[in-house]
Chain length 165, copies 2
């Protein structure tokens, strides 16, 4: 038996762009893939994910975690967002793979207070640790993205398709 | 305010080993992180994940997908398993990060029929596409693993802690 769909990538259209934006807007966590410089291995961990009021993609990470140490050394990374609920089929649930460069937003950054306030509206449990000295925001600058809208519905998106700040 | 837990890694104990094995045994999908040789970026995608009757860690992947192409070139990878249900807090839900080398199990491999049969008992929807020519099994040989049992409960595990085949 052969799979008839030879080219799995569909032309990017407004529906794909809209779905990608909706996945990002709805994501509260995701899977971060970083590259460990010393081992050469990728490392995938779960991170808290959100967006800023201006639409920038953000994570709140601890310097005690391996992914943060890796990102400080090698800023290229990938984030998978679009988690299925308990009832959905995980492999047909729409998801978005982002490839990004990570930029740390240090505690002294004048932008941080507004990011902090906005973050707590979408991640209220973070109030327990958001002010710990080891936690900081990371902004993900998207270079490209891959949308999987379900079996056989794959799209390649550019940063301009996503309108992220 | 400072976080008092300076060393976030706890000594590995039998409880951690057992939790890691339970996460793997219960996983039906996960987040795969591969390294793209041409771009140098990690790439994180959702994959179907399971175990063989002998306990080997497996994925069923399509050669039409980017992660499969990347794994064929660079076999080092990472898999995150331990997905929260709809009601759990994703950031306290236990999860396991594996760092592995991927080995493809080709269609002609005499082990495939038994793997196929076992896979369909845990992934029944795969019967629609498991026999497509572009699908193959990948076995993940674990080099090390990182267990996050919830906030502040981190462990480093070796392959011997996990008893995988």
């Amino acid at each position: 038996m052969a799979n008839k769909s030879v080219d799995p990538i569909r032309p990017t259209d407004d529906g794909a762009r809209q779905l990608a934006r909706e996945i990002v807007a709805g994501a509260r966590y995701g899977s971060l893939g970083v590259l460990e410089a010393d081992t050469g291995f990728p490392l995938v961990t779960r991170i808290a994910f959100g967006t800023s009021p201006s639409g920038a993609l953000l994570a709140l990470v601890s310097s005690l975690s391996q992914h943060t140490a890796a990102l400080r050394r090698v800023p290229v990374c990938s984030v998978l967002v679009g988690e299925p609920g308990a009832s959905g089929d995980p492999l047909t649930h729409p998801r978005l793979t982002l490839q990004c460069r990570a930029q740390f937003i240090e505690a002294s950054d004048p932008a941080r207070p507004a990011l902090r306030e906005a973050w707590l509206t979408t991640h209220p449990k973070a109030k327990v640790y958001i002010d710990f000295a080891d936690f900081s925001f990371v902004r993900f600058d998207v270079e490209r993205a891959f949308l999987n809208g379900g079996f056989g519905k794959a799209y390649v998106l550019e940063a301009t398709d996503l309108d992220f700040v």
